[in-house]
């Protein structure tokens, strides 16, 4: 069990041995198992962990805003020494906004769509801030204050009269930040404030938070599953796994000398912007769900260094051998001392694969996996027309992996959907594996049938990419029947098993429903479904964006291997330039519906020509 290290004086926030359980189903299911952490005044603390590890719940418990059905079963939360658990709900509510405030993940849902931004900021202001004059004077004072707050987060005064839907994601996140800070809290908890943003905005928002923290001298808790964000923005980092803290310490130390195999594995799985590795070492398996966690180390099942004791001994935080005392670097690994330097990040082999050269001749349209010329697409709506694609030219050769990068809304998905026959272009030519698609109308069923063996697509959201009512076998069999005609049952079953094997899933998974699969497993089934059609081109629209690093690494390796064995081409859409580096032969950068730069991946990343590409590279977080 993790125990907090001695911290001088009273910290701003002190969580000690916090336990939470889901009580909805009668028997309580433990969700958090003794989490402790501290945040000092003016300090920035990051909490990282894979999805489902309990980061959000910890913070909600700290705020006193646990969802129905989750209850505190032990531990304390202290703010400035006051035990919040003993406060009556009313007093506790009074602390929110003024002492501590919470910023949520999704800027698109966090603000009330029907209220102006100014109103929402004003609602959080302290009641006593303005002179007690009535009516008009008071309103003017509030307005002036709102405008000041907007300026503080770098927004124009005009934003005050705007409704959230009139602003971009980054701007909304700034408005939300201003609203969260309206009560001038001593502590701001930001729960994944950047996950929904694209690279450029991500950097800007993190910078803004850091700046505000410094300026206001407030404590900041940054919750994230993005290692790079945690290491770049946190003074100290806590690593949370399956409801327990495995390691905590200064960001720089954790990054360079991790004290726990889990941290080390995460770091190893992280692709790099500057180097391509021969292989991304992926963690096998996934986070054990609540209710199926044993008494020992929750990571034991996935750990390469597991010993017998690991599965039975309760966790205990101990200083990492050889680490400085202040601030402390603690690990919960039993074998930390024994493993010692063995825990340091694996030295990954850097490769410089040739891929495509600058001067390779263009293949003929019929020979390319994907051939786009002058592709144009305008979306019309009552609010006005929006050009999503602007005379786009793009070629994907057979067997090539092309990465398509660009800011949010630059038209990447639109392009992918047109290529997959799910959307139509207004004009331009689109030839997919030799099958020409007619602009101006969506393909007919017959055309889509022909297209099926040329192109398949894997989408971003793992949770809706499979029909929840069908088991994996049925999904794959349907794909087989649709593209290759009806097969005898035995043959179909064999084929399903082969497909599952290709994506490294056991054949027994054929009988599982999607609900029984993790996100990464679902994406692998989605890939298997696409492979069933034996396409010449596989389009992956941010297929790894929603996954944790460890799972992302599994999938990236899988894709690379499959491309080599099956020989299909890949159009890989991503925000993340490190992924581009790791996977792509060729990189294409889009901006506002236009292709602004393309070339061999290494060239584009090392010697960007277009300012937008450079901006994206700058926005990339580095620890």
């Amino acid at each position: 069990m993790a125990v907090s290290a001695p911290v001088p004086a009273t910290p701003l926030l002190a969580v000690e041995g916090l336990r939470l359980a889901a009580t909805a189903s009668g028997t309580p299911v433990p969700l958090l198992d003794g989490v402790s952490l501290t945040v000092g005044r003016g300090e920035s603390v990051a909490i990282v962990g894979e999805s489902g590890s309990g980061k959000s719940l910890t913070m909600r418990a700290a705020m006193g805003l646990l969802p129905d059905g989750v209850e505190v079963t032990g531990g304390t939360v202290r703010l400035d020494g006051t035990d919040l658990g003993t406060l009556p709900p009313r007093e506790r509510a009074a602390l929110r906004g003024h002492r501590m405030s919470l910023l949520l993940q999704d800027p698109f849902t966090m603000l009330h769509p029907q209220l102006t931004c100014g109103r929402q900021i004003a609602d959080g202001l302290r009641p006593g801030f303005a002179a007690p004059g009535g009516g008009r004077a008071r309103r003017a004072a509030v307005r002036a204050e709102v405008v000041r707050r907007l300026a503080e987060v770098g927004l124009d005064a005009a934003v005050a009269d705007r409704h959230p839907h009139e602003l971009s994601g980054g701007m909304r996140q700034r408005v939300a930040t201003a609203a969260a800070l309206a009560g001038d809290p001593d502590l701001l908890i930001a729960d994944e404030p950047t996950t929904a943003l694209d690279a450029a905005n991500r950097r800007a928002v993190l910078d803004l938070l850091g700046e505000l923290r410094a300026r206001r001298g407030m404590g900041l808790v940054l919750v994230t599953h993005d290692l790079r964000a945690a290491f770049s923005a946190g003074d100290r980092v806590h690593v949370l796994y399956a409801g327990q803290i495995l390691e905590q310490g200064p960001a720089t130390r954790l990054h360079t000398v991790p004290g726990h195999p889990y941290t080390a594995a995460l770091l190893a799985a992280e692709p790099s912007l500057t180097e391509r590795y021969a292989e991304l070492p992926a963690l096998p398996g996934s986070v054990p769900p609540p209710g199926s966690r044993g008494s020992g180390c929750p990571f034991a099942d996935r750990c390469p260094h597991t010993a017998g004791l690991c599965r039975t001994t309760p966790l205990l935080a101990t200083p990492v051998p050889g680490a400085p005392q202040d601030p402390p670097h603690l690990t919960a690994c039993l074998r930390a001392a024994e493993l010692g330097p063995g825990l340091a990040p694996v030295r990954r082999t850097v490769v410089e694969r040739g891929g495509e050269e600058e001067g390779d001749p263009e293949p003929a349209p019929e020979q390319a996996a994907l051939h786009l010329r002058g592709l144009h697409r305008v979306f019309r709506s009552p609010a006005g027309d929006h050009t999503a694609l602007h005379e786009v030219d793009l070629t994907v050769r057979r067997g090539q992996i092309v990465a398509l990068a660009g800011e949010s809304g630059s038209g990447k998905t639109t392009l992918a959907r047109i290529a997959a026959g799910l959307e139509s272009a207004d004009r331009g030519t689109c030839v997919v594996g030799g099958v020409p698609l007619t602009a101006g109308r969506r393909p007919t069923t017959a055309e889509r049938r022909r297209l099926a063996s040329r192109v398949q697509i894997v989408f971003q959201d793992p949770y809706s990419s499979l029909n929840p009512l069908r088991d994996v076998g049925a999904t794959l069999r349907e794909a087989l029947t649709a593209t290759r005609g009806r097969l005898p049952r035995a043959e179909a079953d064999a084929e399903v098993a082969r497909l599952l094997d290709q994506v490294r899933l056991p054949a027994s998974y054929a009988r599982r429903r999607p609900a029984a699969l993790s996100g990464g497993e679902r994406q692998r089934v989605a890939v298997a479904r696409a492979l069933a059609a034996r396409p010449e081109l596989l389009i992956c629209d941010e297929a790894v964006a929603a996954l944790d690093v460890s799972v992302q690494a599994q999938l990236l390796s899988l894709l690379g291997q499959l491309r080599d064995s099956e020989g299909f081409a890949v159009l890989f859409i991503t925000h993340d330039l490190a992924v581009v580096r790791q996977l792509a032969d060729r990189a294409v950068v889009m901006h506002r519906g236009r292709v602004v730069e393309q070339g061999p991946a290494a060239r584009v990343l090392d010697r960007p020509e277009h300012p937008w590409t450079r901006r994206m590279l700058d926005g990339h977080l580095t620890p």
Binding site: G69, L422, A452, F459, E478, A530
Partner: protein, 276 residues
């Protein structure tokens, strides 16, 4: 934020009670007349008699035993309502799937039509059309089917529109499956639980609407042991033999409550599944 129910037990009991009530009603509807061959025996000399040992709820003006009539009447009462609900379900699902999946002009037309029909007071329209057209009960049921369907249309349409762009649907499309196949095999089964729940609610609504029509004189043919009709006919007995009027009223309310509760519960269960 997920909200989770506190305790399931009272809810389960209630659901079980509803299911039992409905099972009994269904039993009565299927075998009521077979079990009580003498349900339509008249005894004019008896007239509207008070309850006694042989006639638990008394008799109606024709001297028929009210208790037996009520049992035998389950069929005629529930059949009409079931017809309305099922008809609306078939019509609503067909149009809803079509509109939701095809989109474009078909969708615009169907959507407008559904909105229009939904805004009309169903009972009034039925009254006017069946009353003026003179088609009697059959026409009334037909009109009610049409006027009940927009709820289903909207439900299915919006569910389909919600699902139409979900990755699993689009993946099925890229596999070259026809639109009809995708709509029927992939989308519809996912919408089905809501549809079933809604059909139960429509069923309940139809029981009430048809009894209202009987009250206004447009219901089932005279003499039929329909509860609405019995209630309307025995209303004048209310102060002599209250059970003659109250029993059919109670049956209508109980049947409708059971259907409504079960429908609500199903709806809830489905949304729960959708949330988790």
């Amino acid at each position: 934020m997920t909200r989770v129910r506190r305790s399931r037990r009272p809810g389960r009991l209630l659901t079980a009670a509803c299911a039992t009530v409905l099972a009994l009603l269904a039993l009565a509807a299927c075998f009521g007349t077979a079990l009580l061959p003498g349900w339509d025996r008249q005894d004019l000399a008896l007239g509207a008699a008070m309850p006694d040992a042989t006639h638990w709820l008394g008799t109606d003006a024709l001297g028929r035993d009210i208790a037996q009539l009520l049992v035998a009447g389950a069929r005629s009462t529930l059949a009409g309502a079931a017809l309305v609900a099922l008809g609306a379900m078939v019509l609503g699902n067909a149009l809803g799937l079509l509109a939701g999946y095809l989109g474009g002009r078909v969708d615009a037309v169907v959507h407008r039509l559904a909105d229009l029909l939904l805004a009309l007071p169903a009972l009034l329209v039925t009254l006017v059309v069946a009353g003026i057209g003179g088609g009697g009960y059959a026409l009334a049921v037909g009109v009610l089917v049409v006027l009940t369907s927009p709820g289903d249309i909207r439900l299915v349409r919006s569910a389909v529109r919600e699902q139409r762009h979900l990755p699993y649907v689009e993946a099925a499309e890229t596999l070259g499956l026809s639109r009809a196949t995708v709509a029927v095999r992939h989308i519809w089964p996912n919408v089905l639980p809501v549809v079933v729940a809604n059909t139960l609610l429509n069923f309940a609504g139809a029981v009430v609407s048809l009894s209202a029509l009987s009250f206004l004189g447009l219901g089932v043919p005279p003499g039929a042991p329909d509860w609405g009709r019995l209630l309307a006919d025995n209303r004048t007995l209310l102060y002599d033999n209250p059970s003659a009027a109250l029993a059919p009223a109670l049956l209508i309310v109980v049947a409708a409550v059971a259907l409504n509760l079960l429908g609500d519960r199903l709806h809830e269960a489905f949304t729960d599944r959708g949330r988790s």
